[in-house]
């Protein structure tokens, strides 16, 4: 099946806080956007699969975020929950053009 993707401008790189998450709402989707320590930007669904904790407020360590509700550890690159817990959150590709940040989401 062919997927159509649209790219959504969410702001400038400098608008994103360093080593922290930012909540971005696109339509009905709530996305947590992280600017990692190395400057990379990552986007995942803003709900922990455990109890719906808001991941944008978690503690970011390297490429992992710790859910503020019950400390689940989630990889912000692929959305995978780390053991011993299991599960996955949706991750979204991010494009940076110059200073502008875009999230690619399916239509």
């Amino acid at each position: 099946m062919e997927k159509t993707v649209r790219s959504v401008f969410i702001g400038e790189v400098c608008d994103l806080p360093q080593k922290l998450g930012k909540t971005v709402t696109i339509g009905r989707k709530e996305i947590a956007v992280f600017k990692l320590e190395n400057g990379e930007i990552r986007a995942i669904e803003n709900r922990c699969p455990h109890k719906g904790g808001v991941l944008a407020e978690g503690i970011l360590s390297g490429e992992y975020v710790f859910c503020p509700m019950h400390d689940w550890k989630i990889n912000v690159k692929d959305g995978k929950v780390q053991s011993p817990d299991v599960g996955c959150v949706q991750s979204y590709p991010v494009e940076v053009k110059g200073d502008q940040v875009y999230i690619l989401i399916s239509k």
Partner: protein, 797 residues
């Protein structure tokens, strides 16, 4: 060489232990496949009660992480159940439609909880206590409901009941016998146990048969055979287990209570083995951990073609895993004709000891209140030692450490995992082990029930001699091997100034985690409060946002109200803000402040600015509130100005960072209306003096505060509180409440340190320095555009 295909059905303790043993003997001999119905890696089921009782997480009881399966090239199918075994074609099929052939098959399907076939047993709210899911469901229940009933006063029932108590439920334990744990204890010990658990808040209903579980859809209570009734919102059945043999039975394997196996764990079908709770050996299906491990070792040898004498059955020993209760039993429990008994009973200290003797040899033991002889007696029972031997060893008054020293090399230290003293000592010497955790990782000792932890530590002490540091080093988290003290020493010595630098210089093995980052942030700020730049991103959300996050992602706001005193003007402002921002609820907190709940993140700065009151720091690892009673100005009994003192303390110490939250209270008379006896710092005014209590806690681990000093003068009192807080700030581990810290250091030690006037001055100088940089976080946020954008604004498209 072609590898044999080894398939294991059941990812539990018994089966995986057999695989571990196989890997030890012949790591490359087999292509291993494991099927497990539960979606987790192998975990320690007997420690589930610790998860339910709190303080232990599911990850803490994991025995083998996901990586273990990968590292050993095991094909692991979690959450997948084997549905049939074809012993002719030598293959198994699963509920996911997979068919896997085997050369050797291990059945380790364990057991199921036995559910009494009572009318109503299928209602919502009736649970077993067997796996992680049961545990999680009980925790969920405890958040909604109040009353629990546990059917079964055995080991599992009591551990579940203790857990439910810890979760804040009222618990009735129903038992058909007239005393508890009748299979492991005699009547005397059972009655002592009951008295102890009643003190802990459990309620017992003995000699009762449950006839019916009442309620429509959801359980509402129990009805007994004599017609009496009790209410219950949750019913836990813990009356026993039955071996899970359905799969084996369908495959045509001979089954009695369990799957029948011989001394080599062989079933009657070639190449099919059974191990653990699902197996029956010489008429016994074991339900404890030690036999399962012994069976695993025998099975592994058999699979790898090593000759030995096979499995000879196990002598059982039991320990109850409930904090504050020491119970041990092994071998024969009750005397009959032909047994003699050596018994001591100390009613005052609640210590009971009974040793059963048959033909002069030790045949069993029951210990209550003091179980340190348990391991020794267990070994005597297994070797058939004479009672004189025990009495002689008991007579020579030994320190704990000498008990370990005097044991022979063959004696078992860890009964669960079959680890002897000799093998531990050898492992310590050969691998240069210095910590308890290393011994545990290397030898498996203490990996199950943990009952032998102190013996293992004693062995370390007497093996290492002077090199051993009694206060065992505990790494601050798994990102490093360094302890808190080592990290602090390095920070001071090398002059480290920020978190990333600490992690790089001290060679952290990760980018940090939610445990070490907040801890390092605290330690760095504590060491150099004037220069350290607080790292917001290392703080837990509540402290970063300066508001409490709630389960739905909204926040709650608590404005500062010094001493719990407010004005009509402030109340009006709070009411106006609540209306304007449509807060979900206005509530008075446990610390006598007003909480506005259900506030959206984006509204936080506006609310703060309109309130124009300081932050109540109700989220902080720092001073929360100072609770006060009415005191001398209005109260008939008040002897002191408790409100005035409360306001003074709150103004002096507000905004201070501490290792964990700090609560204070000031009462003006011994009636103690502000509950000073369960606060980190509690002050009680008496005629002409202030009493200062410390280390109290009203939380999950209730602790009564200790009297530290008494002062005639209020200034001296405030100075001592400053010194106490600073000593706590400097010597506690991050997230250690004063209650745990006072217990660790000892109240006498703290009193001694703070009796030194010079030290009191020094501590006050340092705490004043830390307080000098405090600013109100709400004001700071409102006035800083970058902060507002980074933390409180969201992007909406």
């Amino acid at each position: 060489m072609i590898k044999q295909k080894l398939v294991l059905i059941g990812n539990g303790m018994a089966g995986v232990r057999a695989i571990e043993e196989v890997l030890k003997i012949n790591p490359d001999g087999f292509e291993i496949t494991i099927f497990g119905t539960e979606p987790y890696p192998n975990y320690n089921r007997i420690q589930l009660s610790k998860v339910l009782q709190g303080g232990t997480s599911v990850s803490d009881i994991t025995l083998n992480e996901w990586e273990w399966y990968e590292d050993n090239k095991i094909r692991f199918y979690p959450g997948e159940s084997v549905t049939s075994i074809n012993t002719k074609t030598q293959s198994v099929s699963t509920d996911k439609g997979r068919i896997e052939s085997y050369d050797q098959l291990i059945i380790a399907t364990g057991s199921n909880p036995f559910m009494l076939p009572l009318p109503g047993a299928d209602k919502e709210g009736v649970k077993a206590f067997r796996n992680i899911k049961d545990c999680e469901e009980m925790i969920e229940y405890s958040k909604i409901y109040k009353k629990a009933a546990v059917i079964g006063g055995g080991l599992l029932g009591l551990e579940a009941a203790r857990g439910l108590l810890n979760l804040g439920m009222e618990v009735d334990v129903i038992h058909i016998y007239d005393y508890l744990m009748e299979r492991q204890l005699d009547r005397s010990a059972g009655k002592l146990l009951q008295a102890e658990l009643e003190k802990q808040g459990m309620n017992f209903i003995l000699q009762k048969n449950t006839a019916e579980i009442t309620g429509r859809k959801h359980v509402t209570g129990l009805k007994f055979s004599d017609g009496s009734k009790i209410k219950a919102d949750l019913v836990v059945m813990a009356v026993g287990i039955k071996p899970n043999v359905a799969l084996a039975q369908e495959a045509g394997l001979p089954v009695n209570r369990g799957i029948l196996v011989n001394d080599y764990l062989e079933t009657e079908i070639p190449n099919v083995f059974a191990v653990g709770e699902c197996a029956e050996h010489r008429g016994i299906a074991y339900g404890l951990v030690a036999p399962l491990y012994q069976q695993g070792q025998v099975l592994a040898k058999r699979l790898c073609g090593i000759q030995d004498e096979g499995y000879q059955g196990s002598v059982l020993s039991t320990q109850l895993k409930v904090s504050g209760v020491d119970v041990f039993s092994a071998g024969k429990i009750n005397e009959d004709e032909g047994t003699k008994v050596y018994k001591t009973y100390d009613d005052w200290h609640g210590i009971y000891k009974k040793v059963l003797i048959e033909d002069g040899k030790i045949a069993g033991a029951v210990l209550f209140g003091d179980t340190k002889d348990g391991n020794k007696l267990f070994n005597f029972i297994k070797t058939g030692a004479r009672i004189e031997e025990y009495l002689q060893s008991a007579q020579s008054v030994e320190s704990e450490e000498n008990v370990a020293a005097s044991m022979s090399d063959e004696e078992l230290i860890c009964g669960c995992n079959g680890v002897t003293k000799g093998s531990i000592v050898e492992a310590i010497k050969a691998n240069g082990l210095t910590t308890f955790d290393q011994v545990k990782g290397c030898t498996n000792a203490s990996r199950s029930c943990g009952g032998c932890k102190s013996l293992v530590s004693d062995l370390l002490a007497c093996t290492l001699g002077d090199q051993y540091q009694a206060d065992q080093k505990e790494a601050i988290c798994s990102c490093t091997t360094l302890s808190r003290d080592e990290v602090l020493a390095e920070i001071r010595e090398k002059g480290l100034t920020h978190i990333r630098e600490v992690m790089n210089v001290l060679q952290w093995n990760t980018d940090g985690c939610s445990k070490c980052k907040p801890a390092l942030n605290y330690y760095l700020g504590m060491i150099d409060p004037l220069k350290y730049q607080d790292e917001r991103e290392a703080r837990y959300v509540n402290e970063r946002m300066h508001a409490n996050i709630q389960k739905d992602g909204t926040y709650s706001v608590v404005p500062r109200m010094y001493g719990g005193v407010t004005t009509s003007e402030d109340l009006r402002k709070i009411a106006d803000v609540a209306d304007k921002y449509k807060v979900g609820m206005i509530k008075v907190t446990g610390g006598q402040r007003i909480d506005l709940l259900g506030v959206y993140k984006e509204d936080l700065p506006k609310i703060w600015s309109e309130l124009d009151m300081p932050s109540g720091s109700a989220y902080s690892k720092g001073l929360r509130t100072v609770k006060t009673c009415v005191g001398e100005n209005y109260c008939r009994f008040g002897t002191q100005d408790s409100i005035g003192m409360g306001i003074r303390l709150e103004k002096k110490f507000e905004g201070l960072n501490t290792p964990h939250k700090v609560k204070m209270a000031v009462s003006a008379c011994p009636r103690n209306c502000a509950e000073s006896g369960i606060k980190d710092v509690g002050i009680v005014g008496v005629e002409g003096a202030w009493e200062m209590y410390v280390g109290g806690n009203g939380g999950t681990h209730l602790r009564e505060a200790n009297l530290l000093f008494k002062f005639k003068n209020g200034d001296e009192l405030v100075e001592m509180i400053g010194a106490f807080l600073q000593y706590y700030r400097e010597s506690a581990k991050y997230l250690e409440r004063t209650s745990a810290w006072v217990e660790r250091l000892g109240i006498d030690h703290i009193r001694e340190v703070l009796s030194d006037e010079f030290m009191v001055k020094e501590y006050n100088n340092r705490i004043d320095e830390a307080l000098s940089v405090v600013q109100d976080p709400w004001k700071e946020a409102i006035n800083n555009k970058n902060l507002l954008r980074d933390l409180y604004q969201t992007v909406k498209i």
